[in-house]
């Protein structure tokens, strides 16, 4: 077990290195240079700026400098927001994105399992048909449409109540988080519902269900202890990649709901060509996702005793 975790972690470190290198190459093949945007700087100022950001050195030296600083956990200073370190930006804004993401994952996974199980019980009957129709809608409607509609819904609710019951945008209280995390989790919830349904229907025909029924166990017990527990396994496997999808899907939700998360910062940094912020955020996100996938895989080993971790 420990060996497996160590092995996965080592592979993870190499992956993060690969991500960092790919980011570095991508950013250095951008035409022009980061200081291009500054209006008419004199040659001396330019030289100073280049020295400050280490741009006057050869590319391979910059690369090793970048890797070295990264190992120390230092992503450098923002190009556009003077005197603000990339680390500070990540520290200030990542918790917001993470909260949003965790809430969305919670909503998506509980919702997906619940609806999926429900559709399997009511197979080909009205609840199943209604939920599956909604699922198809959830899969095919883009997230930004949901975000816009969600905001519209909040506006109308507030109008109906007469005062600002649920804030339409911004961040701070639990009320602010409600709609964005729901919108963010919706697509994943639809996907998980579909997965859960087919996996439930497969489990129903398994021999151990028949055995349990023959033993005279109550239907509720069979449902919760035998069916649900086994059907949930495929859902857990896709959770890792879905965390990645939700994290990046947060960009749109953060933009629409004016949430001060890291995703919004990333988009802003790209628009302003803020090189250090782009590189720092990408590597950070990449490392985070790699780590999450490893965690989910290890958790899977605990949930499903049949999986031997090697």
């Amino acid at each position: 077990m420990l060996y497996y975790i160590l092995k996965r972690l080592a592979a993870g470190v190499i992956t993060v290195w690969f991500i960092a290198t790919a980011t570095f190459i991508a950013m250095h093949s951008v035409p022009g240079d980061p200081l291009m945007n500054d209006k008419a700087v004199s040659a001396e100022i330019r030289k100073n700026l280049e020295r400050k950001y280490g741009l006057d050195r050869p590319v391979h030296e910059q690369y090793f400098l970048f890797l070295g600083n990264m190992l120390k956990g230092d992503f450098g200073i923002s190009f556009t927001q003077q005197n603000r370190k990339v680390n500070d930006i990540i520290r200030d804004h990542f918790p917001v994105s993470a909260t949003l993401g965790v809430l969305a994952i919670l909503i998506a996974s509980t919702g997906g399992v619940l609806w999926g199980a429900l559709t399997a019980i009511y197979r080909n009957r009205l609840p199943d048909i209604i939920i599956m129709f909604l699922v198809i809608l959830g899969i095919s409607v883009p997230s930004f449409v949901f975000a816009a509609l969600g905001q519209l819904l909040l506006v109308n609710i507030n109008k109906l109540v007469g005062y600002s019951l649920i804030p339409v945008a911004g961040w701070g209280t639990i009320w602010h988080m409600l709609m964005p995390s729901l919108v963010l989790g919706l697509g994943t919830m639809a996907l998980l519902t579909r997965l859960m349904r087919s996996s439930m229907l497969e489990v129903v025909n398994e021999d151990y269900i028949k055995t349990a029924r023959a033993k005279g166990l109550s239907p509720t017990r069979i449902f919760f202890r035998h069916q649900l527990r086994n059907a949930i396994l495929p859902v857990v496997t896709v959770l890792g990649p879905q965390i990645a999808a939700i994290t990046t899907g947060g960009f749109v939700v953060e933009l629409v709901f004016a949430i001060p998360g890291l995703g919004r910062y990333f988009v802003q940094a790209v628009q302003q060509l803020d090189y250090t912020v782009i590189m720092g955020t990408t590597v950070f996100y990449g490392a985070f996702l790699v780590f999450m996938v490893i965690v989910v895989d290890i958790l899977y080993g605990f949930i499903d005793p049949r999986v031997r971790l090697q």
Partner: protein
Amino acid sequence: MTDVLTRESRLNEDDFAPAQTSESVEQISRPSLSYWQDAWIRLKKNKRALISLYIIIGLALFTLAGPLLWRVDPALQDLNQISQSPSMPKQAIVVGPYQRWRGVTIEGFPAEPDEYLDTIPAPTGLHTYDDPTTQSVRLVWDPVTGAGGYNVYRNQRKPETINDLGLPLGGTLAGNEVSYEDRLNLERKTYYYSIVPTDGFDESSQYAILKVTPKLAITRDDALTRGLIDTADNVAFGDTINLEFHPFGTDYLGRDMLARLMQGARVSLFIGIVAPFLYVLFGIMYGGFAGYFGGNFDQLLMRFADFVVALPFLLFMILFKIAFGIGPGESGVFPMLIALVLLGWPATARLVRGQVLQIREQGYIQAARLLGATHHYLVIRHIIPNTMGVILVTLTFAVPSAIFTEAFLSFIGMGVAPPTPSWGSMCNEGVKTMLSHPHELFFPAFFISVTVLAFNLLGDGLTEALDSRLRSRD
């Protein structure tokens, strides 16, 4: 015992003639079909998949043949027609240039009231002076004794009480001035005008209401400059002409939505279909060779694929897009395409590799190898055609995700930049005016959803149709 023997001895030759069977002998009841013929037949039985296929063909026609039929320039901005809702063809009356109206003043009627009444009665005989048009609505009414002026209100619904009269337009300041001309942002709607007499200071509690529906009017000069008529010679005032027809309405710059949707479909479908096609092709080659040769070569290739999978997809889409020389604000269809291909292939490669590893061990491959087939021949002729089913399904499911990616990037302003329309960038523009003009968001979002849905359902249908294990169920 003896009886039996005697009966046996009575057997004659007829007893050995072949028996007549009442039931038909077992036959091969199905015609021999190739894998693809069989899959096609089963796909045709799946109604949802078939409808999806028709929708996809329809969308292709919409974007390719549509602009030939609907010859409206998607880039043409018409600031006279900003954010029009979808409608039937509109007609307008040609009118002359606006001419000042002197109004109606009754000679001999006192301008100032002689005596102050407690309640001034509502004016009677409220009517329109001429045909009400969107150029002007001219109201005339009979003077009321005791009135020193009149206030005019306009509402878009029928007023219930005196507090519900709507927008105060203005009025007259003399009891004998009994007309008012409304030229304030008139549209082709129904308006309720209310006239409230005043004694010069206070309003009466009585009022008269008139329901007016002005006709859409356009001046002849306007019609000429907008190209609705060729010459002014054969068009008289009062004639009706057809206005520009916008079946799906117009956007915030007055551009025709239908034409833009058709052109936007090109970008969306181009990226949505070409990018998956390219990266699936690359994935087939990559995974095919890795799986076929196996060993360390396979390990090396697959480790690399693992790394590419680990790259955060959308972040790198954006990074690559900048890296390929497109700054923010420039249209970037090709950088987006390249970025999608660079990041999309590993999933297919893994899948194909898995398939190839299975197929490689099959008997017919060994037979072919025994007959002296080269690697190249084996991969191209035997292995890849046998993975085609899985690949086709992957391709179908890859299309919606590519369309989503394009829409997503365009929505956050990192994809196709204006003025090039794509469904995603149209959503981006439409979401800003979502409350007042919902059609600008609805149509592009609807098209994205329908396309994604059609490809998803087709993919489901293909999965079922191509799965030969399910064949015996029919």
